[in-house]
């Protein structure tokens, strides 16, 4: 009898161990494939364009050599565009994943909650009314993003309990105000500022310059390792407040750090590319579906985000006779998924 028990116990332990190994293996394979895909898309972004330069020339430009023609096309136009797409996609993906995981709701993401619309409104205000420099614009849009999220959180906390439904409703209200402000600013804006304005409505990589990127690069370098360090507590938070704290997670500091990083990432990325529609919202669920639930999926989510943005931008540039900004492509992909998700949630009776 005792032997049987021991046997089945070792058996169970063995099963758990095997499961863990296979999950780990799946995670590694998926992350590896996503990384390779991202790299391939980055290469495509550098190689493709009006003129297709030989790989040798592109590599030479990247190494810092002067190549006639290619230096300008690749170094000044395509490289910043590729970097902006890569980093912004990564930032949107990770930040969306954090929101969705922490609030345990696939609908929760910086766009629906209205954070990116706060950032956008501030950025448009800086560009059109104050005519301020790029640095001031980025800082203002980050501050506005943080302030908006704080405001939404405070307004939706309510007397008794926190509710995701209320959070979303308040977010929609704030978003309506920000959007109408953007529309108005676009109307009073000078004609030559208007192409920039489309970016603030849908998100676009057009005309990104190298000197805009350092803020995004530095933020990613600081915050992504921090988020990776916090990914175990994040997984425990997904189990619920009480479960997490009984597993030894200091929930409040972890929650605040994660939310702050997610908001800063989304806001900085928005300051450079505009709110690229649906990426933050799509990346998390895709990554979880691919890499499996139950592992820390922030890196895969970031990679999926980057893949979406880069592929969307390539499609926007080359798939149609007109060049579409990336936000249109991702928006059209994302919207049906959002509706599908709503139908699914409604059927399950979550609301």
């Amino acid at each position: 009898m005792i032997m049987m028990n021991t046997l089945s116990l070792t058996h169970t332990v063995e099963l758990i161990r095997l499961g863990r190994i296979s999950r780990k293996r799946r995670w590694l394979i998926v992350t590896g494939i996503l990384a390779i895909l991202t790299f391939a898309l980055c290469a495509a972004m550098l190689l493709l364009g009006n003129t297709i330069y030989p790989v040798r020339d592109v590599v030479a430009v990247l190494a810092g050599e002067e190549v006639k023609g290619a230096s300008f096309a690749v170094g000044t136009i395509r490289l910043p565009r590729m970097l902006a797409g890569l980093l912004a996609g990564f930032a949107f993906g990770i930040s969306g994943y954090i929101f969705q995981t922490m609030l345990r709701n696939p609908l929760a993401n910086p766009n629906v909650i209205g954070i990116t619309s706060g950032s956008s409104a501030a950025a448009v205000f800086c560009i059109i009314v104050l005519q301020s420099s790029k640095t001031v614009t980025s800082i203002a849009s980050v501050i506005a993003g943080l302030a908006t999220s704080l405001l939404i959180y405070v307004l939706s906390r309510g007397k008794s309990s926190f509710s995701i439904g209320r959070l979303i409703l308040v977010g929609i209200g704030i978003q309506a105000m920000c959007n109408s402000m953007i529309t108005y600013l676009m109307l009073i804006g000078e004609e030559h500022n208007l192409p920039a304005a489309v970016r603030w409505l849908t998100g676009s990589l057009n005309g990104v310059r190298m000197d805009e990127l350092p803020s995004l690069i530095v933020t990613c370098l600081i915050l992504v390792p921090l988020i990776c360090m916090l990914s175990r507590p994040l997984m425990m938070l997904e189990l619920g407040e009480q479960a997490a704290s009984s597993l030894g997670v200091r929930t409040d500091p972890v929650r605040i750090m994660l939310i702050a990083s997610a908001v800063i990432l989304a806001a900085i990325a928005t300051a450079i590319t505009g709110p690229i529609a649906s990426v933050a919202f799509l990346a998390g669920p895709i990554a979880v579906r691919l890499a499996g639930a139950g592992s820390a999926n922030s890196i895969p989510a970031g990679l999926v985000g980057a893949v979406l943005v880069l592929a969307g931008d390539l499609a926007g540039q080359f798939a149609f006779t007109t060049k579409f900004p990336v936000g249109i492509i991702t928006g059209i992909i994302g919207a049906p998924y959002l509706l599908f998700l709503l139908i699914k949630l409604n059927r399950r009776g979550d609301f």
Partner: protein, 337 residues
């Protein structure tokens, strides 16, 4: 005693205050603008009807704008009441449910592919767009257990709005001529109206308002619940259809002539319901009146703030209405959202 049961509390008082506000708004709308008229100028202009003075010219433009705003506001007010009572949902408003965006998408497609350019053509496209979107959003929002709860409807509306606005931008970007046409239409403004578009709009307003008034007793019964209403002899399915149809026609027609103007219906209905209670026989005409006041008032505010130009009325109503939405979201009980 009999009288107090027939009319809501303080009805006469509220009616007088609203009418007073209405007159103030009309006068303010006539007086303020790029050039402010003094009271004596205004009186003079209103008394004499000759059309060769500067004042008379200004007044003619402003009369048009004012009447246009009043009609649009009334239509949006009635549409708001109808949608809220048909869905039995305090958050229903054409803009929140995405109906405006649907109308906008159809108009943009018409501009881009069929080269439509006059309000006469806009209106049919806007109406059919509004209709399709309303059916779609209600369909998605009422799936699953519990039927169409406010949160489900709002979310379905927000998602549909997101989807449709992406499509609008995609249609617009390759065609600069559409973009220029659309950029000014999209904000929602009563400044671009003409007597022609007003004449075009009036039949829709009249039919919608009449249908709404005839539906009022039935909708009152519906507010007691589906079964109670049926028990009282109301054909609920038919009633819902007619009332929703009228609501969509009203806001679709408004969108066609003035562009998407948000939150007026929500605002008007809630203020009046707070003051008068839920009886729709009073709610419908009073919401029309207060919708007209709100829209014209917002337009005046927009002209004062944006002077010497103007702040489009759609922007002003969003800033007045969105806080109300937030307030409602905070007050409504968590479970019932």
């Amino acid at each position: 005693m009999e009288r107090s049961r027939l009319y809501p509390k303080h009805f006469t008082f509220i009616l007088i205050v609203t009418i007073a506000l209405f007159i103030v708004c009309v006068l303010a709308s006539l007086a303020f603008g790029a050039r402010w008229l003094t009271l004596s100028e205004l009186m003079e202009g209103l008394k004499t009807l000759q059309s060769d003075t500067v004042t008379a010219n200004i007044l003619e433009k402003r009369w048009l704008r004012t009447i246009f705003g009043l009609c649009c506001g009334a239509a949006l007010g009635i549409a708001g009441v109808l949608m809220q009572s048909v869905t039995r949902n305090p958050l229903a408003d054409p803009s929140i449910l995405g109906v405006n965006t649907g109308a906008a998408l159809f108009v943009v497609c018409g501009m881009a592919f069929l080269r439509i350019s006059t309000p006469q053509e806009y209106i049919w496209f806007a109406l059919s767009g509004a209709m399709f979107t309303a059916i779609f959003v209600f369909g998605i929002g009422s799936m699953g257990r519990g039927g169409a709860t406010p949160l489900k409807l709002v979310l379905a509306g927000a998602a549909t709005t997101a989807a449709l606005s992406s499509l609008i931008t995609a249609v617009m970007i390759p065609r600069t001529f559409v973009m220029n046409q659309f950029r000014f239409w999209q904000v929602g403004s009563v400044g671009a109206g003409t007597w022609d578009s007003l004449l075009l709009f009036l039949p829709f307003l009249a039919v919608g308002a009449l249908v709404a008034i005839f539906c009022a007793p039935g909708l009152n019964a519906l507010a007691l619940g589906e079964e109670a209403a049926r028990g009282l002899g109301v054909k609920t399915g038919w009633l819902r259809f007619v009332a929703a149809f009228a609501g969509v026609v009203l806001c679709g027609a408004t969108t066609a002539v003035a562009g998407p103007i948000a939150f007026v219906g929500l605002l008007a209905t809630h203020v009046i319901r707070l003051l008068l209670g839920p009886d729709l026989r009073f709610l419908i005409p009073m919401s029309a009146l207060s919708g007209a006041v709100i829209l014209t008032g917002s337009d005046v505010i927009g002209r004062i703030i944006g002077s010497p130009g103007e702040l489009e009325v759609g922007v002003v109503t969003a800033f007045v209405g969105a806080p109300l939405l937030i307030l409602l979201a905070m007050k409504v009980k968590v479970r019932s959202i």
